[in-house]
């Protein structure tokens, strides 16, 4: 009996040690869930609340996936929000243009606008990739520059105003629920996360970008096509952002050049919190997904306390992130000493 207990303990310890980041996020998730169980059980643990939460996170969750990929190669993509807004504006314009004279959207309207959006995201990503890989501009500068560019194009297209009065069909499909239960935004996120997870763990592309992110020079000396790999990665990030933008368009039923400005930093923090090393070469999608869940639950939870004003929200956010990173420092030190 006692022995049995020991072995369970050892197994838990082993599990914790194998992937400290994910394990810690699971613990944080449990802490949030338990505190909510004590404080607001009825409100938090309702079906409708969970449904709302899983419909909310995909917009920034998708962008986080893109940043994660770039960070694995040792870079970063600061243009995600710019790409997302540019895509949602362009798709919004296309949607409006497709509306027939009687005010209805033809059946192919949603599909066409989404495909156009994804293509724009892809082109934007390829541009980032070329700047980083061909012209060796540090990713942080290249994507900051392209962010301004995309923002600028967005402002010109909208003349600074919001694009609204979109055909309702789009929003009711993308922000709708499959079988009346599963939010479509979540489905888009799950499909994209699944594809990226497969790419990272099972394909040559995945292995190569981890290696490239670890040591660029050794990658060249090993005959990897570093330019091609980087362009592909930024292009994928562009597609993720485009999907994020398409979800935003549906959620707000409008598009503006400056929506979601806070997402850039939030996404970076999610990715780092999820155990992706900003120096490249390390990080798993499971960590990032858990990190997204923790933050979404935390923020939805906080919203349930009217006495905690929005002013405190940033403070609590900041504390959580700093604590997580301090813990990372200690666990890395422990690893080194072992």
């Amino acid at each position: 009996m006692n022995e049995n207990k020991m072995s369970i303990r050892r197994k838990l310890n082993d599990f914790y040690g194998r992937d400290v980041y994910t394990s810690r996020l699971i613990i944080m998730l449990l802490v949030v869930l338990i505190s909510m169980l004590i404080l607001k059980p009825a409100k938090f643990f309702s079906f409708i609340n969970f449904q709302t939460m899983v419909a909310q996170f995909p917009e920034f969750g998708l962008m986080s996936l893109g940043i994660m990929l770039c960070m694995i190669t040792g870079g970063i993509d600061l243009s995600v929000v710019g790409v997302a807004n540019l895509v949602s504006i362009s798709s919004g314009i296309i949607l409006k243009a497709l509306v027939a004279a009687d005010g209805s959207l033809p059946w192919y309207g949603i599909l066409v606008s989404m495909i156009c959006g994804i293509v724009i995201g892809l082109v934007a990503g390829v541009l980032n990739g070329i700047l980083v890989a061909k012209f060796s501009i540090p990713p942080i500068l290249a994507t900051l520059g392209s962010y301004e560019l995309f923002l600028g194009i967005g402002i010109i297209l909208t003349k600074g105003k919001a694009i609204s009065k979109l055909p309702m069909e789009y929003s009711s499909v993308i922000a709708g629920k499959l079988f009346g239960i599963i939010p479509v935004q979540l489905i888009i996120f799950v499909i994209m996360a699944g594809i990226i997870s497969f790419l990272l763990s099972r394909t040559t592309y995945g292995t190569r970008i981890y290696m490239l992110g670890t040591n660029m020079k050794a990658a060249e000396f090993s005959g990897l096509d570093t330019t091609g790999l980087l362009i592909k990665t930024y292009a994928l990030s562009g597609i993720c952002s485009a999907l994020g933008g398409l979800v935003m368009l549906a959620n707000y039923n409008s598009a503006r050049a400056d929506y979601g400005a806070v997402y850039t930093l939030q996404c970076i923090l999610i990715v780092v919190l999820g155990g992706v090393n900003p120096n490249g070469g390390k990080g798993r999608i499971s960590g990032v997904v858990f990190s997204i869940l923790v933050l979404q639950m935390l923020s939805s939870g906080l919203n349930m306390f009217p006495q905690i004003s929005n002013f405190y929200k940033s403070l609590i956010w900041g504390c959580v992130l700093l604590i997580a990173m301090t813990l990372n420092y200690f666990s890395e030190n422990r690893n080194r000493n072992n």
């Binding site: 394909t203 040559t204 190569r208 290696m211 670890t214 040591n215 990658a219 000396f221 005959g223 070469g281």
Partner: protein, 498 residues
């Protein structure tokens, strides 16, 4: 023997379960040049760190004259005249020579204000002491390695040093610079300063030291006079194994040349290099640093493509203008700097092995075949004898020799025709060095064409079937290793003008 500068008595030290030192004693007299040798992981570094106060010993003690310490702090070590010059010299590359030299003593004197005149005076005295001619205002980062080392030596001398410990000081130096360093060491000896010289290069140990101590697995194997030591004994003490020097005898040499290089050149680096290589041959290329040997290798591998001359592979003229094109012609390259160019250190041994052959173990669409991947990894770990029980461990858990085997595996898994190795055994233990030489010789017998670039002359002599010597960017001699000895090689390398 006069009173010793330092006496280490029966020092033991463990890190967790690892016994790094199992009771080591060491005594050094004033003005003695003592060589500390041993393979990686034998406890050399731990011993140095105990003497300099970085680690505290678990038991045993250290004596300086009549002062006995069971544990010593870095400050106490410095006060007793111990100075360590580490491999990276611990200098500030962005500061000037003068600032670097004066920095520590200014700190020690707790000065708050800068007095440039005093700086200059102190620094001038320091460089004069070893006859080191240098611009005191030069940025240290811009100096050649040998000069950086001298700056570190000058700084060490500031503290009334009685014992200077040099950790593998010759690793990055050319033969000429090593000679200059040895002269300085001799002059320090005359000033009564003892030197503890850490090295595993046999010829240096013989040349410079009077006494030696060899450690193996944390134990002192022997202390003695260098005059009583020879090659065989030295290797035996270091490794506990005896090695037969396997001289390479080419068999299975093809009739047709595999690689022919004609008047190859890269403006500014090398010119008019011609040679040919057949299957089954090992071509040794040697020359001083800056002779163009590394650039030649990089051109053949497409990193910095040549701009003059012709390359023919199996009789066909080819253009090698990128790594991809070199790889298409089945050329592999084991780079000079294993850590930064050859390996992805924090990644798994497994991924390091398969990274360059991913397309062979995956479907057309790029999905990796896990079975093929595993069998490929098992095959190479076994074939090259990489010492690991789990290839999923990070590559930086391996010793230098095993890391080099991983780099070899990365290329051999690609079915090469030509393998170029730049410094195949730099920073590798004697045991692993023998293993790697044996692997290379076998590969040649199996029909690979091999080019070894190295400044380790015994290595070149032992493993080549043909040697070319480069100087000032071109080939100055092509020699048969059967007909020459080491000294002749270095004469060709230095050549006439020195």
């Amino acid at each position: 023997m006069a009173q010793s500068v330092i006496k280490v008595v029966d020092v033991k030290k463990s890190f967790g379960a690892v016994k790094a030192l199992k009771g080591v004693s060491l005594e050094i007299a004033p003005g003695e040049i003592h060589c500390l040798a041993g393979e990686n992981g034998c406890g050399k570094s731990t011993l140095i760190k105990i003497i300099s106060g970085v680690h505290a010993p678990d038991s045993g003690h250290i004596e300086f004259g009549d002062k006995i310490y069971t544990k010593i702090s870095p400050i106490e070590a410095i006060m007793n005249g111990v100075q360590v010059i580490y491999q990276d010299f611990s200098i500030f590359p962005n500061l000037t020579v003068m600032e670097n030299i004066v920095f520590n003593s200014e700190l020690k004197d707790r000065r708050k204000l800068v007095n440039w005149k005093r700086f200059r005076r102190i620094a001038e005295q320091a460089v004069d002491r070893i006859g080191f001619k240098v611009d005191l205002n030069a940025r240290v980062g811009d100096l050649p390695v040998a000069d950086k080392q001298l700056v570190a030596i000058c700084r060490a001398l500031m503290f009334n040093a009685k014992l200077i410990i040099m950790d593998e000081p010759t690793t990055a130096l050319t033969k000429k610079e090593v000679n200059a360093l040895f002269k300085i060491i001799m002059s320090l000896k005359e000033q009564g300063i003892a030197i503890l010289f850490v090295s595993h290069k046999l010829n240096e140990v013989f040349e410079i030291s009077e006494r030696f101590t060899i450690l193996r697995n944390g134990e002192k194997i022997i202390t003695g006079n260098t005059s009583e030591l020879d090659d065989k004994k030295f290797t035996y003490y270091m490794t506990g194994r005896e090695f037969e020097d396997l001289r390479f005898k080419p068999k299975n040499v093809s009739d047709e040349p595999l690689l022919e290089v004609e008047n190859l050149g890269l403006t500014g680096y090398f010119h008019d290099v011609s040679f040919s290589l057949k299957r089954g041959e090992i071509l040794g290329i040697t020359g001083l640093l800056g002779s163009g040997r590394t650039e030649l290798a990089l051109s053949l591998f497409g990193i910095s493509p040549a701009d003059q001359g012709k390359i023919r592979i199996k009789g066909q003229e080819v253009v090698i203008d990128s790594v991809a094109s070199a790889m298409k012609h089945n050329i592999g390259y084991v780079p000079e700097d294993r850590l930064s160019e050859g390996l992805f250190l924090p990644q798994s041994i497994a991924d390091n092995i398969v990274i360059s052959e991913l397309e062979n173990i995956s479907s057309k669409s790029g999905v990796i075949d896990k079975k093929k991947r595993r069998s490929e990894i098992e095959k190479w770990v076994k074939e090259l004898g990489v010492a690991t029980n789990n290839p999923n461990n990070a590559c930086n858990t391996l010793s230098g020799g095993n890391q080099q085997k991983v780099v070899l595996a990365k290329w051999l898994s690609r079915n090469l025709d030509i393998l170029i190795l730049n410094g195949p055994t730099v920073g590798v233990d004697i045991g692993a060095k023998h293993d790697i030489h044996a692997i290379l010789q076998n590969l040649a017998h199996e029909g690979l064409g091999i080019i070894i670039i190295s400044d380790d002359l015994p290595e070149i002599l032992q493993n080549s079937s043909k040697i070319i010597i480069m100087k000032n960017g071109t080939v100055v001699a092509e020699l048969n290793p059967e007909e020459i000895v080491e000294n002749q090689l270095s004469e060709y390398m230095m050549g006439g003008n020195e």
